[in-house]
């Protein structure tokens, strides 16, 4: 068990194994995302209230959903960093924080675009949009702290503490923001209960969420590999990889 854990934490091992399954992640992700989005945009039925404008949820919901789950994933990795000091967990947090920031921004942007025809204004201080905005701040703080600390080990551990503090706060922030403003639509998509929208709408939505998950996995691997190469540049295996092109 420990051996496996240790191996899992080895950047070299990760580099080798990720190279093998990355193409599958990308291909599967693109396939699912494209089919979900095309189905959603072109073939799913019109919403009887919002007409065609609701179709942006096929982009908005997956990005918003991912933006939150990326933070949870970062928090899990941060815990691993602090408890087991696994190198790969540091690399993961550092590599995916900007991805999370961009996803959060996309969710906010598509939310604003959706808001214009729905509410008649680009921005509304609705509970979910505000929570996303605060999530954007949290991501920004994580990235800023990481950039500010020169020593990468200290940076990784300081960032891990910040991410964990953030994850304890996220439910509190969500709860308080909802209390502050209860005027919003109920969450579109809940795994625990049967969705109220017709299958023609939620199936493509589920497809695009899954697709985005896989694409995120691919992107995380790409960014982690880059980070690993820069961190391990003095090791023999990286030098060999650079000259021979394989691990």
């Amino acid at each position: 068990m420990w051996q496996f854990f240790h191996k899992l934490g080895s950047p070299k091992w990760f580099f080798g194994i990720s190279t093998r399954f990355m193409p599958w992640l990308l291909a599967g992700g693109l396939l699912l995302l494209m089919s979900g989005v095309i189905w959603g945009l072109a073939f799913a039925p019109k919403d009887y209230l919002q007409g065609n404008s609701y179709r942006i949820i096929f982009i908005h919901v997956p990005t918003a959903f991912m933006a939150q789950s990326v933070y949870i994933m970062m928090a899990s990795a941060a815990l691993v960093t602090l408890v087991w000091r696994m190198k790969l967990a540091d690399v993961f947090v550092k590599a995916v924080a900007p991805v999370g920031l961009i996803l959060t921004f996309l969710a906010l942007f598509t939310g604003a675009v959706w808001g214009k025809p729905t509410w008649g204004t680009w921005w509304i201080w609705d509970a979910r949009l505000t929570s996303m905005l605060i999530l954007l701040f949290l991501y920004g703080g994580v990235i800023a702290l990481d950039r500010a600390i020169n020593d990468e080990k200290s940076a990784a551990r300081a960032v891990a503490v910040l991410v964990l503090v953030g994850v304890v706060n996220i439910p509190i922030i969500k709860y308080s923001v909802e209390w502050w403003n209860t005027l919003h639509q109920p969450a579109t998509f809940k795994l625990t209960e049967k969705p109220s929208m017709p299958a023609e709408m939620w199936v493509p939505l589920l497809l695009s969420v899954l697709g985005l998950y896989l694409i995120f996995g691919w992107l995380a691997c790409v960014r982690m590999q880059t980070e690993i190469l820069s961190r391990e540049q003095r090791t023999r295996w990286v030098k060999e990889f650079v000259t021979k092109g394989r691990v």
Binding site: G141, A144, A148, D151, L162, V177
Partner: protein, 241 residues
């Protein structure tokens, strides 16, 4: 140097109790602060000035101020606590007393709790005491002022406790002050929401007991978790220095 006073070298198994150590830290911080009284006034002046900006910058009308007053005071208090946080560990870090604090044979989170308590007594508590005056100036009614003071009394320790984490994380970094604000402001939002929300509820004549209890729960949560996070952050920052 003569060495008559020094006891012999031998292994010791006991040290001063944690409570005495906390008292020592608290007393030292208070003493240092009162040697430089001018610094104690700065957050208070800042608080008053920020509040002054609103009637000047937005509107001096009674209707606006009495409605927005509680929010203005809360935001101003939050900003002045934020401003004072940079000093929480910085001077100790620069003169080396922070190293000696970490090397005390005591649980570090308790020592940090003592330091944070001193910080609150020196910044948060004076802000609360000044609030009635400013409350009158922004035309809040007596009941609202009382509730506002209560929320600040419960809320400002939370600000100090969460702030200690940020101060510890940004210790010794370039432009630590701005970075500290970026890290901490999002974490302050729930306290701000409930602080001002409670006053709003009171103004509508609703019972505020439940909201105050909820803020008390925030305080308990911050008291139990924040010192551990700040201790971990402090060790990381010192390790880097």
């Amino acid at each position: 140097m003569n060495a008559e006073a020094r006891p012999a070298a031998r292994l010791a198994s006991t040290s001063v109790g944690a409570l005495a150590a906390m008292k020592g830290v608290f007393a030292r911080d208070m003493r240092v602060a009162f040697r430089q009284r001018q610094d104690l006034l700065n957050p208070l002046l800042f608080f008053v000035m920020v509040v002054t900006l609103f009637p000047l910058g937005v509107s001096p009308e009674v209707s606006f101020l009495s409605e927005a007053g509680a929010g203005i005071l809360w935001v101003a208090a939050l900003l002045s606590v934020l401003l004072s946080l940079d000093h929480l560990f910085r001077h100790d870090f620069d003169d080396g007393t922070l190293e000696q604090l970490v090397l005390q044979p005591q649980p570090l989170f308790l020592l940090i709790l003592a330091k944070t308590l001193a910080h609150w007594v020196l910044t948060g508590l004076p802000l609360v005491m000044l609030t009635p005056v400013l409350g009158v100036m922004v035309h809040l009614d007596g009941n609202s002022i009382a509730v506002l003071c209560l929320t600040l009394l419960i809320g400002t320790p939370v600000l100090s406790l969460i702030g200690a984490i940020g101060a510890a994380l940004t210790l010794g970094l370039r432009s630590a002050g701005v970075l500290l604000s970026l890290l901490i402001i999002p974490l302050y939002i729930p306290v701000l929401i409930f602080g001002t929300g409670t006053v709003a509820a009171a103004a509508e004549g609703a019972s505020v007991g439940a909201y105050l209890a909820l803020m008390g729960a925030f305080l308990m949560l911050a008291l139990t978790l924040a010192p551990f996070a700040a201790a971990a952050a402090l060790r990381i920052s010192l390790s880097n220095g």
